[in-house]
């Protein structure tokens, strides 16, 4: 992996510390950065609402290659588990064709979440634990960030948008990611706010005033208040204390970063927002601001949270509901658009970047349009995921189609051969990112984990 020197990179662009950029230049900035690689491993999780169509159906927008469709529900994992590379490249992955040998299509992972709420699709997908109103555990991005992001200027970058955040012009929403059970972490849904968070202050190489006296005083205040509250009421104070420590570490990390402040890109529709957000993440990775990002698009607590993406689908009424006829073609177009963004990020970051693209725990339609077979909410026994990148050999993606799962029985086949949950994929990613988590899925371990996926680990 070639090494990338942030200061040298910026100097090469003529963007010395504090250099002002003209409006709209962020896009150019990132595009000029493509080809530059960094030494730090970075991961981006994408969680997509409304589901990812698995089978080809009538429109041919499915993820499962047609060569393997016949064995849709295998009985012993006989279906290409070894990882075939000879298959028709799915239409929705077209932009990744140039990176094909760095991609793995992972099919058949289980996300059956006993006790889950039927519509808790945001938190449940990211945490592998029940939780609709409130998360049941940390989300995978935060679990990894807590291990490898604590010394960074930001432990993670969380962004996204859904129908509500666009319509109501929300700057943040808190329906997908979590630091711990009961502790949601909001993600940024506004491009201007994201730009401020990433590049707004403290990146000019100058030294901001030391917050130490403020933090010391704050510790005294917290201690004083603790004595006035019963232990079960101290959650907010514990958060405060943790964040004080984290803030100090982040400030110290931020002071070491020398990175230009890009101007804010214009972004109004979902396509432009997604583009601006992924470009901002790319630049933030290049600047060393954080090693972890997560993107939630169309996630939430219902079926119809996916924004229209009308410029992509041509349908201003696309409601993101997989019952709707023509859903898989339209969703496929949106997902292909996302793949284009992912391809650009990988071009920019090379072997340093790992991407996991999967759906929230909404429905996963199979079969035909307005499908005849649905797996509903947290009953998904066949969650699809696309993994892009191999982190220089930490993962064996290799252009393979990996099919897990066996015919679902009443006991959900826990422990059966080839039974693996989405949590196992998350563990694989964590290990590849040097965050060796041993379990994942909330305190009760409701989604079983059997460890990283051996077929995927390098």
């Amino acid at each position: 992996m070639s090494r990338f020197h942030r200061r040298a990179f910026l100097a090469s662009l003529g963007l010395t510390a504090g250099g002002a950029l003209l409006p709209g230049i962020a896009t150019k900035l990132v595009s000029r950065a493509y080809g530059q690689q960094i030494s730090q491993k970075c991961v981006v999780f994408w969680f997509i609402g409304g589901s990812i169509q698995i089978q080809q159906g009538q429109t041919g927008w499915g993820l499962c290659p047609p060569e393997f469709a016949a064995g849709e529900v295998g009985t012993g994992g006989e279906n290409a588990l070894g990882g075939s590379t000879a298959f028709t490249w799915p239409k929705k992955l077209e932009p990744l064709a140039g990176l094909r040998n760095k991609v793995a299509i992972v099919d058949g992972l289980n996300n059956i979440t006993p006790g889950a709420s039927a519509h808790g699709s945001g938190f449940q997908a990211t945490t592998c634990a029940p939780g609709n109103n409130s998360p049941g555990g940390p989300s995978i991005d935060q679990a990894i960030a807590q291990q490898i992001g604590t010394q960074s200027a930001l432990s993670s970058i969380l962004v996204g948008h859904n129908k509500d955040t666009l319509q109501l012009k929300l700057e943040r929403t808190a329906d997908s990611f979590a630091a711990a059970k009961g502790s949601p972490v909001p993600h940024t849904t506004s491009v201007p706010l994201l730009m401020r968070e990433l590049f707004g202050t403290g990146l000019s190489g100058g030294k901001p005033p030391s917050p130490k006296p403020i933090m010391d005083s704050l510790r005294l205040d917290i201690k004083r208040l603790e004595s006035r509250l019963a232990p079960e009421e101290r959650g907010a104070l514990n958060d405060y204390l943790r964040l004080v420590e984290q803030f100090e570490t982040q400030q110290a990390a931020r002071e070491k970063i020398v990175c230009a402040t890009p101007a804010e890109p214009a972004a109004s529709g979902p396509e432009e927002m997604a583009t601006a957000m992924t470009q901002a993440i790319t630049l933030a990775f290049q600047c060393g601001i954080s090693p972890v990002a997560a993107i939630a698009i169309g996630t939430g607590t219902g079926h119809e949270d996916m924004p229209e993406y009308s410029a992509t689908t041509g349908d201003p009424d696309f409601d993101g509901h997989s019952f709707v006829y023509d859903y898989s073609r339209q969703a496929g177009l949106i997902q292909r658009f996302h793949m284009g963004l992912i391809a650009e990020m990988h071009k920019a970051l090379g072997d340093s970047l790992l991407t996991v693209y999967t759906c929230d725990s909404g429905m996963a339609p199979r079969d035909n349009e307005a499908g005849s077979v649905f797996t509903h909410h947290a009953m998904n026994s066949r969650v699809p995921a696309i993994v892009v990148g191999d982190l220089g050999g930490a993962l064996k993606t290799g252009g393979r189609y990996l099919r897990y799962g066996v015919k679902v029985a009443a006991d959900h086949n826990n422990g059966a051969p080839n039974f693996h949950s989405i949590a196992d994929l998350f563990l694989s990613v964590a290990h590849a990112m040097d965050a060796p988590l041993t379990t994942f899925g909330g305190p009760q371990q409701v989604v079983p984990t059997a460890g990283p996926l051996a077929e995927l680990m390098g």
Binding site: S134, E171, P213, L218, L220, Y240, H376
Partner: protein, 529 residues
């Protein structure tokens, strides 16, 4: 959805005391607090802190009410915003305070101690103890060599980021179980009713121990609610003007803003959810002001007076010509009855292209009758045979023929049919798929005589809901949840009963209900470690 228990009885000896707690301010409350303190310190600055980015803008949309205290902690992005906002505020304050910021003062440490005490009273909504004044003043003294202005700014910031400033502490003396501190009570009332820190009258009352009796507290609550019954200025309905806490309760209770969440199929040419929301807000403001002395339920469930604008006329089935309609126009709508027949509610509780009697019925069950219903079972594939049964009522009837579906749907669909006389954007209609609309409804399993039987249309539903003791109790229980920031528990039975009585004895005055709740032991009593 969290549904409160409307049937908790008042039992002798039941204890409503809860643990001392922290309750995070909302963005509006924090913004008001910063501006109010700023203005008190620098009166010549009329509109301080313009453009300040204040944290705490997110709420958990899955909660029944946005005020649920346990839902709010602190997260990484909010803490960053808090640091930025308090840093900007304190530096701006030092600049605007001029010589009062102690820069160049002869006795710097005494000056700073005085400033800390004065600002602390405003920031913390209580006088600071001497040790606290000393703690903060020491920051300025220690940082003075680096510049007095920055030293004072960091001192003020240290105070502003304190959890007691950004959260409200509801606690009493250590080791006791009894009324919370008077200043804490003043804040609880003031932020609860007005989203703002206590004003001078409330602060002085707290300082003199004048918030001991329920009557004194209730009087303050009613004063803060004002003559408009908590609706604020009835003519201010623009989006940028924040809703008052009372307005917010009704929006969250009725969910009329759901109209913005349901896209409608096709190009209707008239459906403007933002304007519908605004019309509803205007209607509610006037209704709250007019019923401050009583009569809320008949108005809420039966009003035939609606506010219409050019942008919303189509949803009311009107096609005015230019100049025929004021903006807004107050109109009598004989075909409607109450807020649940407002196009905002009807379109929000609909699908893209058809009505949704299931969700409408579920809403009545959960929000009006306090009966929780299970979510759609995992693995269920709901399918209606619309081709065979183009009339939705008939399709749902066929759906309920399956006993597995009927168990829940019989509780929702039959009462949701009351609104079949309107379409999915709120227009009145007489026909559906070529057949006359059937808007008969039934609350299956109702045990209250007034709610039993089969009836016709929304007007009759409204009349019966308005007259129902169960609906009143359920409304009070929801109000409890909203104003107390928690679900009622067994010990709160007397509070619920007294509040229901206050509401009924006043012939349905919402300020009386709120005053009863906020002056109750359920708010004031705290167990302190």
């Amino acid at each position: 959805m969290r549904v409160p228990d409307a049937n908790i009885g008042c039992v002798d000896g039941a204890d409503p005391t809860i643990s001392a707690r922290l309750w995070r301010l909302t963005r509006v409350q924090l913004e008001n607090s910063l501006r109010s303190a700023y203005h008190a310190l620098v009166p010549r600055v009329d509109e301080p802190l313009k453009g300040l980015v204040v944290p705490f803008g997110t709420s958990n949309s899955a909660d029944r009410f946005s005020t649920r205290s346990r839902s709010y902690g602190l997260d990484e992005p909010s803490f960053r915003d808090l640091m930025n906002a308090t840093g900007a505020t304190s530096r701006s304050l030092v600049s605007d305070l001029g010589s009062e910021a102690c820069v160049g003062a002869g006795d710097f440490s005494s000056c700073v101690a005085g400033l800390v005490a004065k600002a602390g009273q405003l920031f913390f909504r209580r006088p600071l103890a001497a040790a606290e004044v000393d703690q903060y003043a020491q920051i300025a003294v220690s940082l003075r060599p680096g510049g007095e202005g920055e030293a004072v700014a960091q001192t003020l910031q240290a105070m502003l980021v304190s959890p007691e400033v950004n959260f409200r502490l509801e606690a009493g003396p250590a080791g006791t179980s009894g009324p919370m501190d008077q200043f804490a009570l003043a804040s609880a009332i003031s932020y609860g009713v007005s989203d703002s820190p206590p004003d001078r009258e409330l602060t002085e009352l707290a300082a003199s121990g004048g918030l001991q009796s329920e009557a004194a507290i209730a009087q303050q609550v009613k004063r803060l609610l004002g003559s408009s019954g908590g609706a604020g200025n009835v003519d201010l309905v623009i989006e940028l003007w924040p809703l008052s806490p009372t307005e917010r309760f009704f929006r969250e209770y009725l969910h009329y803003d759901y109209t913005e969440r349901v896209d409608k199929a096709g190009d209707l040419g008239f459906h403007n959810p933002g304007f519908l929301k605004q019309d509803t807000r205007r209607l509610l403001k006037h209704m709250l002001a007019e019923t401050a002395g009583g009569g809320l339920f008949p108005a809420l469930f039966g009003t035939k007076t609606f506010w219409v604008t050019w942008e919303t006329a189509g949803n009311f089935g009107l096609s005015p010509k230019s100049g025929e309609l004021g903006n807004p126009e107050k109109m009598e709508m004989p075909d409607r009855a109450g807020l649940l027949t407002h196009p905002s509610w009807l379109s929000g509780f609909s699908q893209m292209d058809h009505n949704d009697p299931i969700r409408r019925g579920r809403y009545i069950r959960e929000s009006m009758l306090c009966q929780a219903l299970p979510e759609l079972p995992i693995g269920t594939i709901p399918k209606l045979d619309i081709e065979k049964y183009p009339v939705l009522r008939e399709a749902l009837g066929a759906h309920r023929a399956d006993p597995k579906c009927a168990a829940c749907h019989q509780l929702m669909d039959p009462v949701g049919f009351a609104f079949e006389g309107y379409d999915h954007v709120g227009r009145s209609r007489a026909m559906e798929a070529g057949k006359p609309v059937d808007a008969s409804w039934e609350i299956v399993g109702a045990t209250e005589p007034g709610l039993m039987g089969v009836h016709q249309g929304p007007a009759e539903l409204g009349e019966r809901l308005a007259a129902s003791p169960l609906v009143a109790r359920c409304f009070v229980a929801h109000s409890f949840m909203y104003w107390m920031g928690r679900e009622p528990q067994a010990g709160d039975g007397c509070t619920l009963e007294h509040a229901t009585k206050a509401f009924q004895d006043s012939n349905g005055s919402y300020p009386e209900l709120v005053a009863s709740l906020l002056s109750s032991p359920s708010l004031s009593l705290r167990r302190n470690p």
